[in-house]
């Protein structure tokens, strides 16, 4: 039963991500990636990482995908965009991806990842365990990440602020 669930979730994520990279319409690509994210969240739940599954759905499927959809609608790109690379470049890209897949698989085929643990801590993925880890061992990185968010926010505002000089030029031209 668990095995069937794992393989079906894996198949859904792989198929939807392949559809994502080959679909012409950016809107559909985002929706296919959403399916992939939900199946990955299911895999997190299967691994007993409930907290990360919830955070994954909220951050990726919620915030990031909404941001992507908002930008696509904002730029009015829902019509299919016909910018495609030449057939040669596309073939080389697919070949490179398959080659990397082949190399990594053969390199890791005979690697011993250690036998499965005798005793698995069932509470490893709960919010209480991860909260203790985050606020004891990773307290400084946690605080630094808040500074990172602040700097990202300031950067975004500066990026998209209209240049004051340009506005004055436009006013002068119109006046």
């Amino acid at each position: 039963m668990t095995e069937v669930l794992f393989y079906s979730l894996a198949a859904i994520s792989i198929i939807s991500s392949i559809l994502m990279i080959f679909h012409k319409n950016a809107m559909y690509s985002v929706l296919y990636l959403l399916i992939c994210f939900f199946s990955v969240a299911g895999l997190f739940v299967m691994l007993n990482a409930q907290f990360l599954a919830v955070v994954h759905v909220i951050v990726y499927a919620g915030a990031i995908m909404v941001l992507f959809l908002y930008v696509i609608m904002f730029l009015n790109m829902s019509t299919p965009i016909t910018i495609r690379k030449s057939k040669l470049v596309m073939g080389i890209a697919v070949f490179t991806g398959l080659l990397l897949c082949f190399v990594l698989t053969t390199a890791l085929w005979s690697t011993d990842f250690g036998s499965n643990p005798a005793i698995v801590d069932q509470n490893i993925g709960l919010a209480s365990t991860l909260g203790k880890v985050l606020f004891k061992e990773f307290l400084i990185p946690f605080e630094v990440s808040s500074v990172l968010f602040l700097s990202a926010m300031v950067g975004i505002v500066i990026f998209n602020k209209k240049d004051v000089k340009d506005e004055i030029d436009i006013k002068n031209n119109h006046g």
Binding site: I14, L43, M46, L52, I64, I119, S145, A152, N160
Partner: protein
């Protein structure tokens, strides 16, 4: 206790190797997407897919090796990914305002 035995069966049923190979496939699909598409939005989506596969791999190793630090790392990867997407999309909107397209080849003057 019953639940505990169920979890161990679950871990025994799906070996860690299968998670590793799934993550390799997802990562390669993401890399192919970055190389394949010229639309900036699709490039960002492919990068998200690659980050996602790495997260899944870190969680799998963390659970199978009984170490919560791996999941804390996944949390930080998510934080950085959220900041990266926000800044990247802001840059995309700025590029679109300037060159009126999201084709990455419109920015080929960065080559020189």
């Amino acid at each position: 206790m019953n639940n505990m035995a169920g979890l161990q069966d679950q871990l025994r049923l799906v070996p860690l190797e299968h998670y590793v190979f799934l993550c390799i496939v997802l990562f390669c699909i993401g890399m192919t997407g970055v190389l394949l598409r010229r639309n900036l939005i699709n490039v960002f989506l492919s990068i998200e897919l690659m980050l996602n596969s790495v997260n899944l791999l870190a969680v799998a190793f963390s659970v199978y090796h009984n170490d919560p630090n791996g999941q804390a790392f996944v949390f930080f990867v998510m934080v950085v990914a959220a900041a990266e997407v926000a800044v990247g999309l802001a840059m995309l909107v700025m590029i679109y305002r300037n060159v009126r397209t999201v084709d990455i080849n419109a920015l080929n003057q960065l080559k020189w």
